[in-house]
């Protein structure tokens, strides 16, 4: 490696010569899947799945969306949304309320509670899986969308409470103290003062929670049973086994399943990254 300082122009060229190919290779699995998804079945049979495309059709997408007797991916995407929206709202609401209580009031044993919350979010899902499925069955909500909503809200509570607790503790005391002195109720302090102040954290956590809830597989596959209730992750898994011969359709289904979270990511990139950092290095 040459020691002398290079001109900034040479450096820039070298930087791009290094990074551009790497990033291109990095995207290869994604790009190839997209290419396969736009090819026709006969094209793949004739030229092989790894060949350059000889056809362009969106047929695989409509097959995936409408399904061939299995319910279709449109339904699955809807189910995922029906699970995700209430889960994200419930998670952020309940965890911010708990974090508010823990960070602003002399709750006995709050350190222990925070420690339990922290342990809870280190827990692998496997550790709760069997009992959770039993509980879902005995509550009579097995194979209902409310099951993954409740389970994921419960399972995520520790993480979001812990992160928001840290965030709320760093807010200046003077703000809430002044409101107390003015006779504001705890509810209005929470709603009018603290929540607006933690809005940046909430935005990041909301983007994360939406992505993670949408991506959940293990809780959905164990608490749901029929294709009419499957979210898109479980749908994809079954769809793959049913359509193993027409890989263009599977590829299209995978791309469709990737779109919602990719959209969240592209729009809320900044917030998501700050959310990830909040959860770890803050």
């Amino acid at each position: 490696m040459p020691r002398e300082r290079q001109s900034s122009g040479a450096r820039r060229v070298r930087f791009h010569l290094l990074m551009a190919p790497i990033c291109l290779i990095w995207c290869a699995p994604l790009v190839f899947t997209v290419i396969v998804s736009f090819r026709s079945f006969t094209d793949i049979i004739e030229h092989g799945i790894g060949a350059a495309p000889h056809s362009f059709t969106t047929g695989a997408y409509s097959t995936a969306l409408n399904g061939d007797g299995t319910g279709g991916e449109g339904r699955a995407l809807l189910n995922s949304t029906i699970i995700t929206v209430p889960t994200v709202v419930a998670l952020l609401l309940l965890s911010s309320m708990a974090a508010f209580a823990l960070s602003r009031y002399r709750v006995p044993g709050r350190r222990a509670i925070v420690a339990v919350m922290l342990t809870g979010n280190l827990l692998p899902p496997q550790v709760v899986l069997v009992p959770v499925v039993r509980m879902v069955q005995s509550l009579g909500i097995f194979n209902h969308l409310i099951a993954p909503i409740l389970v994921q809200t419960g399972f995520g509570m520790g993480f979001y409470t812990f992160v928001l607790y840290g965030f709320m503790r760093s807010l200046p005391e003077a703000l809430t103290d002044a409101a107390h002195v003015d006779g504001a109720s705890p509810v209005s302090i929470y709603w009018r003062i603290v929540l607006p102040l933690v809005r940046p954290a909430l935005a990041g956590l909301a983007a994360l929670a939406a992505t993670w809830t949408f991506s959940d597989f293990i809780f959905a596959i164990t608490t749901l049973q029929s294709s009419s209730t499957f979210p898109v992750t479980v749908f994809l898994f079954n769809f793959e086994t049913l359509n193993i011969t027409s890989w263009n359709v599977i590829a299209a289904a995978a791309v469709l399943a990737a779109l919602p979270t990719a959209a969240i990511f592209l729009v809320f990139q900044r917030q998501m990254i700050s959310g990830l950092l909040l959860g770890s290095v803050k």
């Binding site: 490696m1 820039r12 930087f15 791009h16 990074m19 190839f32 899947t33 092989g48 799945i49 790894g50 309940l94 309320m97 708990a98 508010f100 009031y105 002399r106 339990v116 342990t119 809870g120 827990l123 692998p124 899902p125 496997q126 550790v127 709760v128 069997v130 039993r134 389970v151 994921q152 809200t153 419960g154 995520g156 509570m157 520790g158 993480f159 409470t161 503790r169 005391e173 107390h180 109720s185 705890p186 992505t211 991506s215 293990i218 992750t233 994809l236 793959e240 890989w247 599977i250 590829a251 399943a257 990737a258 990719a262 990511f265 990254i273 990830l276 950092l277 959860g279 770890s280 803050k282």
Partner: protein
């Protein structure tokens, strides 16, 4: 991300501007605040703490989920010692921790170092590197399955660059399949690790790096002797995250291989899932879950102790 909790939190350092509750303006607890706390705490207790305790209890029983539980003491754990599938899963999971953890860390650090300074194009490169984070592990698995298809893109590329001899059924080779899935999982994780390292580098002292540059240090020397020592805390957090994620890895393996062929990509979580939901050995599966839990806790405690030591 590693589905839920993919971003498990690293342990935090307790120091830094945190008002102690005694001198801060914490107040007596009005009833409504108990409700505020109670709702979330009840969810956590009901869906996490209680089931986790039950898993411990189940792990000492034999139970098919329908009949009565039969207390077997440590029987399930003794059974694990002689279970070749569990043994395979444990070995594979160790390989997974080292390979997945090591590669995620190396690539994450490499990309963070390469993309640390703001310049034209950095934003785009960064976005491409952490784009996989936006996909579920199920989707990621399907992308890579497409890539690995017999006669698929990977084989075509190998053929085109004169390595036709390497073409094969990637996911059907018992000696390769685990690593093929591992690469896919690393692809998904690296962006997250890069984000953490980028934050760590931002906090690193720029003057030290500049001074070493003036003193004639090579880029490599600068990284090893100047930057890495400053990244100690981030390193530990990254380690905690990759190990926790390694031990809970399920989706991507289940989708790509189902643990096969013939247990060639068996991991603890896969073994646990099959015992519980295919074989209905709920007690035995719970014992595996407890092992996963103990490994996770053990490792996190080890890292926390390292962190505390480092802070002193």
């Amino acid at each position: 991300m590693v589905a839920i909790g993919e971003g498990a939190v690293g342990p935090r350092s307790p120091r830094r501007h945190r008002a102690s509750p005694e001198r801060s303006g914490l107040r007596r607890v009005p009833p409504v605040i108990w409700v505020f706390l109670g709702l979330g705490a009840a969810m956590e207790a009901f869906w996490v703490a209680w089931p986790a305790l039950n898993t411990f209890y189940y792990s000492f029983t034999r139970w098919d989920g329908i009949g009565k539980k039969v207390w077997v003491g440590a029987g399930n754990y003794r059974g694990l010692l002689h279970d070749p599938v569990f043994g395979k899963a444990l070995v594979d999971n160790c390989i997974w921790v080292v390979g997945f953890g090591g590669l995620s860390l190396l690539f994450g650090l490499f990309f963070a170092l390469a993309l640390d300074r703001p310049r034209r194009g950095v934003g785009l490169y960064r976005a491409l590197i952490y784009l996989p984070l936006a996909f579920s592990l199920v989707v990621t698995g399907l992308f890579w399955q497409t890539f690995y298809m017999p006669g698929g893109p990977l084989d075509t590329v190998l053929g085109a660059i004169g390595l036709k001899g390497l073409e094969q059924q990637w996911l059907a080779q018992p000696h390769l399949v685990l690593y093929c899935v591992l690469v896919a999982a690393v692809w998904h994780e690296v962006g997250y690790i890069m984000v953490l390292y980028l934050a760590g580098l931002k906090a690193a002292d720029p003057e030290l790096a500049q001074a070493s540059e003036v003193d004639g240090a090579t880029a490599m020397q600068r990284v090893v002797f100047v930057l890495l020592p400053q990244l100690r805390e981030v390193n530990l957090i990254v380690l905690a995250i990759v190990v926790i994620d390694s031990l809970r890895t399920f989706d991507i393996v289940w989708v790509m291989t189902g643990g096969g062929p013939n247990n060639a990509s068996q991991l603890l979580s896969i073994d646990m899932y099959m015992e519980a939901f295919s074989d209905l050995q709920l007690g035995y599966a719970s014992a595996i879950a407890v092992v996963i839990f103990l490994l996770t806790v053990g490792f996190v405690m080890f890292l926390v102790s390292r962190m505390v030591k480092g802070a002193r």
